[in-house]
């Protein structure tokens, strides 16, 4: 960043906002060196910073911890803004089952606090505990547990956001039902910082299930597990989540049942009768977390894609992805989506991705590159939104970030 801009920023914000170390994965994700990270300590400081940036045409890349940043190519000059110092739980009323916290609070810290009251936030995208609340809301990721609890977007009750021009907006509220006006909070969830920076959020939380049972079925090949997975997805009993995981040497079907002991026992029996299989039961939390965390095990690879199709086409999606030797696959059976972590040494990344995308789209599906080596153009490998949707989204972008300084969707 230019010296005059650095000087100007130093006079704007207190010294605590500077000196944050650059997350190791960030330069690769942003395809450029990152010298400085700014950490505003309040919504007012975020607002000042964005107004400053907007007036000078300086781009802003919002991050949480920076550990889950997807590829973006911001053009100079830009700054990276972390929400790390917006890390206070502002309001928690266990009896209301709602919590308001700063965007920079880590999910694992929220989980610790909520567990004291027998509550939790039932979302499980990969590595969720190391994500921030703001990051979770900004990415809109729910994980396979959405099947049992609904998607995150339906449980974000309110948020304070700062728009691209520094305007602060308080959206939604702290109550679980609220239709007071147009729901402009909804497009903020999952907007990845494209419209505004989320500085705090209020979320609906849930009682921890008395029993959290993981049923496991193993097979040599993931294809052998698909019929059982699909049978569960259309069974009268609806588990909290159903996912499939395959690595080069092992494939597993993971089914989570939540509830009281008697109902979980009954659900397991019903599912075993319905599918004519006998599951291995994992009730120990350590055992479970090991197995569930594995879902994010491929995250450190530099090459990953996510694909979607109708849930009934999950077999076809997996057939396509299996063609990539060494691919590690995580499928959300109810959601009809698969994350594929691909070996970086595949011979020709660009043609492989092009081929994958073509095959997926021929199935009526869509594909998005999640992680991609710096030398490859990330934006080339995702199925574009429909033209009308893109135009409406652009209209919202102009309304909330008029100078287009926020580098949200790359």
């Amino acid at each position: 960043m230019r010296v005059d801009l650095t000087d100007s920023l130093s006079s704007l914000l207190p010294k605590e906002a500077f000196g944050f170390s650059v997350p190791s994965s960030l330069p690769a994700a942003l395809r450029t060196d990152v010298e400085t990270i700014i950490a505003p300590g309040s919504v007012e400081e975020v607002a000042m910073l964005l107004q400053w940036a907007s007036e000078r045409g300086v781009g802003v890349v919002p991050i949480g911890t920076g550990g889950h940043t997807y590829p973006r190519c911001p053009s100079d000059p830009f700054i990276v803004l972390t929400t790390s110092r917006l890390n206070e739980i502002q309001h928690y009323e266990p009896a209301d089952l709602t919590m308001t916290a700063g965007a920079g609070v880590l999910i694992r810290d929220l989980a610790t606090e909520m567990a004291i009251h027998g509550q939790w936030l039932p979302f499980d995208p990969p590595d969720v505990r190391n994500r921030t609340l703001g990051g979770l809301v900004a990415t809109g990721l729910s994980g396979p547990l959405w099947a049992g609890y609904g998607q995150l977007r339906n449980h974000v009750l309110g948020a304070t956001i700062v728009c691209g021009d520094g305007q602060t907006l308080r959206l939604g509220g702290k109550v679980v039902k609220n239709v007071a006006g147009f729901d402009i909070l909804k497009p903020m969830v999952g907007s990845r910082g494209e419209l505004a920076i989320i500085t705090s959020a209020t979320v609906r939380i849930f009682p921890l299930p008395v029993v959290d049972r993981l049923l496991v079925l193993e097979a040599a090949d993931i294809s052998e597990l698909v019929p059982t997975a699909r049978a569960i997805a259309t069974a009268p009993i609806m588990p909290a989540s159903v996912s499939l995981r395959a690595t080069s040497n092992r494939s597993r079907l993971l089914v989570r049942l939540h509830g009281a002991q008697v109902s979980v026992d009954s659900d397991q029996k019903s599912l075993e009768k319905h599918t004519s299989v006998s599951f291995e039961v994992r009730d120990s939390p350590e055992d479970q977390s090991l197995m569930l965390e594995e879902r994010g095990g491929g995250m450190n690879t530099e090459l990953a894609v996510r694909v979607w199709a109708l849930p009934s086409r999950i077999d076809a999606l997996l057939d396509v992805l299996k063609q990539v030797p060494g691919a590690s696959l995580n499928a959300d059976v109810y959601g009809g989506s698969v994350r594929a972590y691909l070996p970086e040494q595949i011979s020709d990344i660009e043609s492989s991705l092009t081929g994958l995308q073509k095959d997926i789209e021929e199935l009526g599906g869509t594909m998005r590159a999640l992680q991609i080596p710096a030398e490859v153009n990330a934006s080339a490998y995702f199925t574009k939104p429909l033209a009308d949707e893109g135009e409406l989204a652009s209209g919202l972008k102009r309304a909330f970030d008029p100078q287009s300084i926020l580098w949200g969707i790359g």
């Binding site: 709602t98 109550v175 039902k177 007071a180 729901d183 402009i184 509830g259 109902s263 949707e389």
Partner: protein, 481 residues
């Protein structure tokens, strides 16, 4: 006097939808002069009833190109005046768009036209072991399109969530008749912004949903319904807080207060509730049969600990219907005790229910107005119903003052001005209680993205700056007389 549409526009509309589906006869237009909130009345210039996305598109294109405002309307059961026409508006009704286009059992999805009655979708999907979860009280008459416009709730939304959770994709007709697809299962939801989520609850101000992709759920194995009788609504409110804080996840938790019980028991809907009761609490659990008795036992214990006089449990489906009757028929029964009823709608944090209910009681006493509460207690969604006579000008003004105080009370308790009925025309002036100028401008900006010339349902949701100073009772009288 409503200005008639130019005859060329009428004939062009008839060309699109057929003569019999363009209504201009003033007597027939009277049916469309209000929605479920009858305090606001104004006949439209015409009503058009298209039967397909293409017809809606052509109708909207024609009307918008003539600068004529379009007022979308489903079954007209809304309770915030959302389907009230503007003086220059034409109502586009979805009554003929009543087909379920697809039931995809494998993916648990349905695609329906907006005029499909809410309950009909559940009836049609029941044979496949599926149902549609959101169940507004008007579900036997309200339409899915109306539910999308209002983001409707219902008793069982406590566990299952409101309409937005179940709408996965939309075909919409926007300004000028443009047909646009939004979202849809099987597509990358992160490829763009959540436009479906933004459209749901936009109260007909962004466009008209013409095809709705809906997520269905498997029918639950069992259900348990309890009825707790309490001496006061406050103790019933405390029982609700206790149940919800105990880790239980009921499907529905509803309160019917003493004045409502009185009205119901005096009506044809009498359910046998004790007349001396201060409140009744309907609690329902659903899910796997095996765990339900345990849940019901725990909820019963919570009620008794908070002073319930008795707790009944439904023994068969007929008994369940009976326990629900007072809740379901409350609005109808109130017609017996007052000529007019203002159904209010606000949400507060659940833990604030006892103090807010006491505050509402106090407001009623101060204004000398009878207020009956029947509401979704589990999610803090209050429906204080003010009973009045609109012919009595003095009382009408008191209703307005009391309403505003109730809204302020709920907002001060950390709540909001509407939980499920929408803002419509009725609550525009209360929007400033919960939103600042910047938030209201942001909402207006979002509307402009979809409807730049404000030709879809103008004058709804967002307050008019120039409208300040006109009281609601003046507006009601001006339009109603």
């Amino acid at each position: 006097m409503t200005r008639p549409l130019p005859s060329t526009v009428v004939s062009d509309l008839a060309e699109i939808v057929g003569h019999e589906h363009v209504i201009t006869d003033p007597e027939r237009l009277l049916v469309y002069e209000s929605d479920g909130l009858t305090a606001y009345r104004r006949p439209p210039r015409a009503v058009v009833l298209p039967s397909s996305t293409e017809e809606i598109s052509a109708v909207v294109e024609l009307l918008h190109s003539n600068g004529i405002e379009v007022i979308p309307r489903g079954a007209g059961t809304g309770l915030s005046g959302g389907a009230l026409t503007t003086p220059e508006g034409v109502i586009v009704g979805t009554a003929r768009m009543n087909r379920i286009l697809k039931i995809d059992v494998e993916n648990r999805l349905a695609i329906a036209q907006p005029g499909v009655i809410n309950a009909r979708l559940t009836e049609a999907t029941n044979p496949y072991g599926l149902y549609y979860a959101p169940d507004p009280s008007s579900q036997s008459t309200c339409t899915l399109g109306g539910n999308v416009a209002e983001n409707s709730g219902g008793p069982h939304c406590l566990k299952y969530g409101v309409t937005a959770r179940y709408v996965t994709g939309l075909t919409v007709v926007l300004a000028g008749g443009r047909i646009v697809q939004l979202g849809g299962v099987g597509r990358d939801p992160y490829s763009t912004l959540d436009l479906v989520g933004l459209f749901v609850g936009s109260e007909g101000c962004f466009g008209i949903a013409t095809e709705i992709e809906i997520r269905l759920l498997p029918i639950t194995e069992g259900v348990r319904t309890l009825l707790g009788i309490f001496e006061s609504v406050e103790s019933a409110g405390r029982a609700v807080t206790k149940i919800m804080a105990s880790g239980l996840m009921p499907a529905a938790v509803e309160i019917v207060d003493g004045p409502t019980i009185e009205a119901v028991e005096a009506s044809v809907f009498a359910a046998g509730y004790p007349l001396e009761a201060g409140a009744a609490l309907v609690i329902e659990f659903d899910g796997t049969e095996a765990g339900l008795d345990l849940d019901a036992d725990r909820a019963e214990k919570c009620c008794l600990e908070e002073g319930a006089i008795e707790v009944q449990r439904a023994t068969d489906p007929e008994h369940r219907v009976k326990l629900w009757r007072a809740r379901k028929k409350a609005f109808g029964a109130m017609g017996r005790i007052a000529p007019d009823l203002l159904v209010q709608d606000a949400t507060v944090p659940r833990t604030k229910l006892p103090e807010v209910l006491a505050g509402i009681d106090d407001i009623g006493n101060r204004y000398g107005l009878k207020i009956a509460n029947v509401f979704h207690a589990g999610d803090g969604n209050l429906h204080p119903n003010i009973l009045f006579d609109r012919q009595n000008q003095n009382e009408l003004e008191l209703v307005e003052l009391a309403s505003k105080e109730i809204m302020q009370l709920c907002v001060d308790a950390g709540g909001t001005i509407t939980g499920e009925h929408g803002v419509g025309v009725d609550k525009r002036e209360y929007m400033t209680l919960v939103h600042g100028p910047a938030e209201l401008e942001a909402m207006a900006a979002a509307k402009r993205v979809f409807d730049p010339a404000s030709l879809f349902n103008p004058g709804k949701v967002l307050p008019d700056v120039e409208g300040e100073g006109t009281t609601k009772s003046e507006k009601i009288l001006a339009m109603g007389e």
